[in-house]
Amino acid sequence: MRLGTSVVVGALGVGAGALVRRLWARGSAQAETSRERWLVVTVLLPEDEVAPAGRLPEPLAELGDRIEVEVRPAPGDKGTEIAARYRDPKEEHAGLASRVEGESPRQQLRSALRRSKQLLEVGEVLRVSPAPHGERSATPGGALLEKVTEVGRKEGRL
């Protein structure tokens, strides 16, 4: 048990370290540019099917004029790149609280891009919940994992 626990903590530590490095790098970049990077997904479809007559997929269209979007062919027959960011840089710098709640504008944009890609490539967004499961005991680790999975599509390196 002791070995298992220490390994758990170790692996979580590795993950947390990667996350901290990423946030640190992001913080440094922000200081230099004052803007977040474009968020970009690549969809395996030709450009005219990704945004026919300039119409964006629904999840992105819902964000309206708040975002600027670039649609361009990907090299090597990899499809079409959709890049998006908020027009107003203030929208990009939401507080930690809204991020924890999964309601920050950047999280919304990341989720919209991921869902748009799935709608275009597959036709629907893959769901995983509600999934059958046994009794959930209340533990700090479980609560943390639940929070992480709640924002699973809204966070990440996209």
Partner: protein, 391 residues
């Protein structure tokens, strides 16, 4: 329904849970006929991959009968006998089109964890933690199968359930290692690990034209299986110097392709076993890579080392100098089962691939916690504990 749930580190229980439902139009519900333990489950059970929540249903290698079909499913109907690929892939993203199905962009609804850990997220997997999508596992009476037209395969008449079961993951993983390891006719292939995946990697090496296949382990019954059912030569690393044996067997060259089918809880002899366990306990590495180290040293100059066993994060004392200076190709992958299962089922139907011998212990799902303990402890020669959820 009844299901095997992970309830904490090294704790399992069979519980009554909700039945799965169709969530997407391309889903089917499969009534699970057979499911098997897999060595990679032990990493989850032991807490080595710490992204399980208590109550999560385990299991990813299974076959059964389609009992419910989503509105957009075209290739399956109720009553079909199917084997299901353990990885969940959409079949339409760029990675799937390259036949790299376990890298699917759309199979993991929760990509944030693995993007933070590994840079990009692979596809989803049944019952393999929230890092791999949080999909409910197959050690249950019923399981929901997303993207069923792509991931569920009809079992040919004449292939019995117990044989077909291992097409789901073990055989497909073995085929991944031999194929992406680029085994060529005339090659000598060494496989570390004589469990289900290692034996299937050896079988796949023969299928690709290998001239000599050597399987390495310490468990005598597994080595005997590799000899008897896969026609491999075997080496027991507790009884001989593996590097020396392999050099002698290969005219001093070393194997052309070395496939590691052990993973993050590898054992070895000598001080490195203690070193790796201490480092793991001190949280200075997450995985014990002793078999990979040995494979890198043993491989011939310019050869290929393929990591087929599951690793989670970081390892120590990795012989990168040997990789570089010997000009090795180092490759790894989760299994691209969608690519290989049709060929595997054909071979099973033709009688040229034997798998049912892996099922050394068959029992009711109610006995699954005991089955996993036997599997972990290698008790009574357990190679795979197979569960019947409806017994």
């Amino acid at each position: 329904m009844r299901a095997l749930c992970w309830t904490g580190v090294n704790k399992l229980s069979v519980e009554t849970v909700e039945d799965p439902t169709l969530l997407n139009a391309e889903d089917v519900i499969v009534k699970v006929t057979l499911g098997t333990s897999c060595g990679s489950d032990l990493h989850l059970i032991g807490g080595y991959i710490p992204f399980m929540r208590s109550g999560d249903i385990l299991g990813h290698e299974f076959m059964g009968e389609v009992v419910e079909v989503g509105s957009e499913v075209r290739r399956h109907q109720v009553g079909d006998r199917v084997v299901v690929c353990s990885f969940i892939a959409c079949g339409r993203c760029w990675y799937c089109r390259q036949q790299l199905f376990s890298l699917c962009d759309n199979g993991n609804p929760n990509p944030a964890i693995t993007e933070a850990l590994w840079g990009f997220a692979p596809g989803g997997c049944f019952g393999y933690s929230h890092a791999m999508g949080g999909h409910a596992g197959s050690h249950a009476q019923y399981v929901r199968v997303p993207y069923a037209d792509h991931g569920a395969f009809p079992v040919p008449d004449g292939v019995d359930d117990m044989t077909a079961l291992f097409a789901s993951d073990s055989a497909a993983t073995g085929w991944t290692g031999a194929d992406l390891g680029e085994v060529r006719p005339g090659d000598t292939v060494a496989v570390w690990g004589a469990g289900g995946v290692g034996q299937m990697a050896a079988a796949a090496a023969w299928a690709r034209g290998a001239e000599r296949v050597v399987v390495i382990d310490r468990l005598v019954n597994r080595l005997q299986q590799a000899e008897q059912h896969v026609s491999a030569e075997t080496l027991n690393y507790e009884e001989t110097d593996i590097g020396g044996e392999l050099r002698e067997l290969t005219g001093g060259r070393g194997p052309d392709v070395c496939i590691e089918a052990v993973g993050m809880e590898a054992h070895t002899t000598g001080p490195m076993q203690i070193y790796d366990q201490v480092k793991q306990q001190l949280r200075l590495q997450t995985d014990r890579p002793s078999a990979v180290r040995e494979a890198v040293h043993a491989c011939r100059k310019g050869g290929t080392v393929f990591t087929l066993g599951v690793f989670a994060a970081v390892v120590d004392k990795f012989p990168l100098g040997a990789v570089m200076n010997k000009g090795l190709t180092l490759r790894g992958a989760q299994m691209h089962g969608h690519r290989y299962i049709p060929e595997i089922l054909e071979r099973m139907a033709a009688g040229t691939l034997t798998t049912a011998h892996l099922a050394t212990h068959v029992m009711s799902l109610e006995d699954a916690p005991k089955g996993y303990q036997m599997f972990k402890d290698k008790e009574d020669g357990c190679v795979r504990a197979v569960f019947r959820p409806h017994d």
